[in-house]
């Protein structure tokens, strides 16, 4: 009988690394394949943000940037912080760890906003030769990355935070 999931941290690290691996092609490969009558363009996440920013759509650019870059990267950073701090049983900022865990749990469900956008656009804009939008490989990679990080967050046993607090006392 064990009151703690002894393999929790292992799972956290494993899912986290898988999510980070999947996040690389999600940024390299194109997210959207846009074909119009005269041209055919592929846009990556960062490329799309830069383009939106160049066109003056700062708000949308900020939203896309937050959803596609800030949130995933923030999750990676938060999970890494939680895992390392629990392992090292660091005494610094014990309250902060709780906050970090809550944030990770909260924003995890919003991470899929990018994938939703791509899925909706792909479904709506299918006008044959005039204009067509198809999801790129990056969409699949990004979805996988989000799923992996969510699994990583779920694998984290929040009681370990308390255990770590107690051992320090």
């Amino acid at each position: 009988m064990q009151s703690r999931d002894v393999d929790s941290l292992q799972k956290v690290w494993a899912w986290l690394i898988a999510g980070m691996i999947a996040y690389i092609p999600a940024n390299i490969y194109p997210m959207l394949l846009t074909s119009t009558l005269t041209e055919r363009s592929e846009s990556t996440i960062i490329g799309g943000v830069v383009e939106l920013f160049a066109y003056g759509s700062w708000g949308i650019a900020a939203i896309v940037f937050a959803a596609s870059v800030l949130i995933p990267v923030g999750k990676f950073v938060a999970i890494v912080y939680l895992a390392t701090s629990v392992q090292r049983r660091s005494a610094v900022n014990r309250h902060g760890r709780h906050k970090a865990y809550e944030v990770v749990e909260f924003i995890g469900r919003w991470s899929m906003i990018d994938v939703f956008v791509v899925a909706i656009l792909s479904a709506l804009v299918q006008l044959d030769t005039i204009a067509t939008i198809n999801p790129g490989i990056a969409a699949v990679s990004f979805a996988l990355s989000v799923i992996f990080t969510m699994l990583s967050a779920q694998a984290f046993d929040s009681r370990l935070i308390w255990d770590a607090d107690r051992t320090q006392q």
């Binding site: 292992q10 494993a14 092609p25 005269t38």
Partner: protein, 697 residues
């Protein structure tokens, strides 16, 4: 049990068994491992598939954009431009592109690249698809994988020929490239079978070289006997064959064109890159049909003493009417020593041995030997007029029967010399003069004199006064006749006659009532006797008839001309008569006479004359008897008639000489008028005393 609390065993130090590292590892680690593996594999795959980077340099990269412009081979996209940059020194535009790995090995030194842009020309519109999609780079290479290259130089103009297109490429040479344009069609019997590439100057700058591509299967028509000629525009040639106007199709008029044909069989198949000459016209091409541009020609010289005006470089050389070569050079040379030097005009004849009937293997020396033999047998050169109007000449080699012995001079000058004979030059002036001389010799003046005489005769005839008078006299006669007929009096005659007849009718009816018939029978019987006597007395008639025949014969012998003249005169006389007032008055008088007669008849009826008729008939009976007696004297009458005929004959005879016929006629007519007057007076007399008619007083 409290002891147990105190001295109980020490609390268990329960701690999990220390597992080995690999035992403690979770299976979850497989997930990132798999993700990593997949990512690495994808990266490697992407790297493997990304194709070969090639660099194409263009002078002008108009429309090419990195990441968009495709590279196409036979309309299939095989690559994409990745980067466009300038070469060192900004001389060229370097286009870096990736082509798929499948085609990369075929990009050897024959690969060509050019930019496809919309192009509108007389040949049509090409590259229209690039208007929407933007330009693309078209590549062309053959299907033989050779040493692959990555550096290429792009073409500024599209290459018209696909590297693997079936056909034959030949090289055409022309003196003038004015009518040759890249893409101009090559026609064979009027259909387009190929096209020209871009013309270029030859290495020495004297000719225009153009590569031509003949598509399969038409390239099978190409042999070494094929001739190409220029069909662009229209040409007017004015040579020994007369004037020739050649207009080809309107298309080639605009864009130029080359045509070829192979008229004779027996040519050898050609290889790729065979050289042909472009002749300026079809005629020139056909004339040169037997000319092999690479064959050697025998050059011989002819020295003319007279002017060679009209002879030109290119003039024909004929042997017994067949073209065997042409004049290749004309110049003046000095012959003889300094003391007796003479200037002669030297024409160099380029003779093709194959045209002398010597076969394709004959050499120049063979031909020279043959010509030498001919010269010793009398072969001479002379100039002959080719076209009288143009004054062109050609050189003819003829065999002169009684030629002075001569041999071919093989050694003295630059060329072997063929001796000459008198030229047959007939120029325009001489020919025209001969024509005029013959026209001059025609008997034009005699012909004109005869025509003038004939016209004079006609004129005299027309101006003759008799000729002119006849119509006028006839017209006047007709006018007056019409006037006479139209007079009211003449028209009234028929109605008056009808009235008279009616009166007579009623008179006769009354006579019948009075029992006149028996008397009439007696009268008829008496008349019958009279007729019998007449019949007897007519036995003398044949004599009369004979006399009349004689008279007729004499009359026939009369001169017609005199008769016509007299007839004319008589017509005039009649004319004059009709013009008199008496003639016009005649109908009125006749009418009056008839009226009188009718009145008379009325009186007869009214005056109880019928009673007198019996007596009258009795008198008539007596008269018939008297007449019977008289008839008995008919033979005497016949004799007198005979005399009358004789007299008439005399009259006719006298008439035949110079008679007064017309005067007599006029008198006769006047007598008629008098008779008319007499009738009138008679009628008036009868009117006054009707009984006199019956009683004879």
């Amino acid at each position: 049990m409290s002891d147990a609390d105190d001295i109980g065993p020490a609390p268990l130090d329960v701690r999990p068994a220390r597992k080995r590292v690999w035992q403690r590892l979770s299976l979850v680690w497989l997930v990132p491992l798999a993700a990593l593996a997949i990512s690495l594999w994808a990266a490697w795959q992407s790297y493997e598939d990304r194709g070969t980077l090639i660099t194409i340099s263009f002078e002008n990269a108009s429309g090419i954009s990195a990441g968009e412009t495709a590279i196409k081979y036979r309309d299939v996209t095989v690559g994409e431009v990745e980067e466009v940059e300038f070469s060192d020194g900004l001389t060229d535009v370097l286009v870096h592109a990736r082509v798929t790995k499948t085609v990369a090995p075929f990009l050897d030194d024959d690969a060509q690249f050019w930019v496809v842009r919309p192009d509108v020309s007389v040949r049509g519109i090409t590259g229209l698809e690039t208007v929407l999609s933007g330009v693309f780079i078209e590549g062309n290479w053959d299907t033989q994988a050779d040493v692959a290259q990555t550096q290429f130089t792009g073409l500024e103009q599209p290459n018209l020929t696909r590297a693997n297109q079936r056909g034959t490429r030949v090289v055409l040479r022309a003196d003038d490239g004015g009518s040759i344009a890249a893409g101009a069609p090559i026609l064979h019997k009027g259909i387009e079978v190929g096209y020209l590439e871009k013309p270029e100057l030859s290495f020495n700058g004297r000719q225009v070289i153009v590569s031509a591509f003949i598509e399969s299967p038409y390239d099978r028509r190409l042999t070494s006997s094929t001739r190409f000629w220029d069909t662009s525009g229209f040409s007017v040639s004015f040579g020994t064959g007369g004037v020739s106007l050649d207009v080809s199709s309107l298309a080639s008029l605009i864009e130029g064109g080359i045509a070829f044909d192979t008229v004779v069989s027996g040519g050898e198949p050609i290889n790729e890159g065979h050289r042909f000459d472009i002749f300026p016209s079809e005629q020139a091409a056909r004339d040169s049909l037997f000319t092999d541009p690479n064959a050697e020609v025998l050059e011989v010289a002819v020295l003319f003493e007279e002017s060679v005006s009209g002879l030109a470089v290119g003039s024909e050389v004929r042997f017994q009417g067949i073209r065997i070569g042409e004049v290749s050079d004309l110049n003046a040379i000095v012959v003889g020593d300094t003391t007796e030097a003479q200037v002669r005009l030297q024409a160099v004849l380029a003779i093709e041995p194959s045209r002398l009937g010597m076969g394709p293997d004959a050499t120049v020396d063979d031909a020279l030997t043959l010509l030498s033999d001919f010269v010793t047998r009398g072969l001479r050169a002379r100039m002959v007029t080719g076209n009288i109007l143009a004054g062109t000449l050609f050189v003819e080699l003829v065999e002169i029967e009684d030629a002075l012995p001569a041999i071919m001079n093989l050694t003295s000058g630059e060329f072997p010399v063929i001796p000459t004979t008198a030229s047959e030059i007939s120029d325009v002036a001489a020919t025209a003069e001969g024509l005029l001389a013959r026209i001059n010799a025609l008997p034009v003046e005699e012909l004109m004199d005869g025509a003038i005489d004939m016209m004079d005769s006609f004129e005299r005839l027309a101006n003759d006064e008799y000729t002119r008078a006849t119509p006028a006299a006839l017209v006047a006669l007709l006018d007056e006749s019409r006037e006479l007929i139209n007079s009211n009096d003449l028209r009234a005659i028929p109605s008056d006659l009808r009235n008279v007849i009616g009166d007579l009718d009623s008179l006769i009816a009354e006579a019948a009532d009075a029992g006149l018939i028996a008397d009439i029978d007696a009268a008829v019987a008496a008349a019958s006797r009279v007729a019998t006597n007449i019949e007897q007395s007519t036995q003398n008639l044949p004599q009369i008839t004979a006399n009349i025949e004689a008279l007729t014969t004499r009359a026939n012998e009369l001169e017609l001309k005199a008769l016509v003249t007299s007839a004319t005169q008589s017509l005039n006389a009649i004319d004059a008569f009709l013009g008199t007032a008496d003639a016009v008055a005649f109908p009125a008088e006749a009418n009056a006479a008839l009226s009188t007669m009718r009145a008379l008849l009325d009186d007869v009826r009214a005056g109880g004359a019928i009673e007198n008729v019996n007596a009258a008939l009795a008198s008539a009976n007596e008269a018939a008897k008297a007449f019977e007696d008289a008839v008995s004297t008919l033979p005497a009458l016949a004799a007198r008639a005979n005399e009358l005929v004789d007299q008439t004959e005399a009259v006719v005879n006298s008439y035949s000489e110079r008679s007064r016929f017309s005067a007599e006629t006029l008198a006769t007519l006047r007598d008629i008028q008098e008779a008319s007057d007499a009738i009138t007076s008679l009628a008036r007399t009868i009117e006054r005393n009707p009984n006199s008619l019956l009683i004879g007083r």
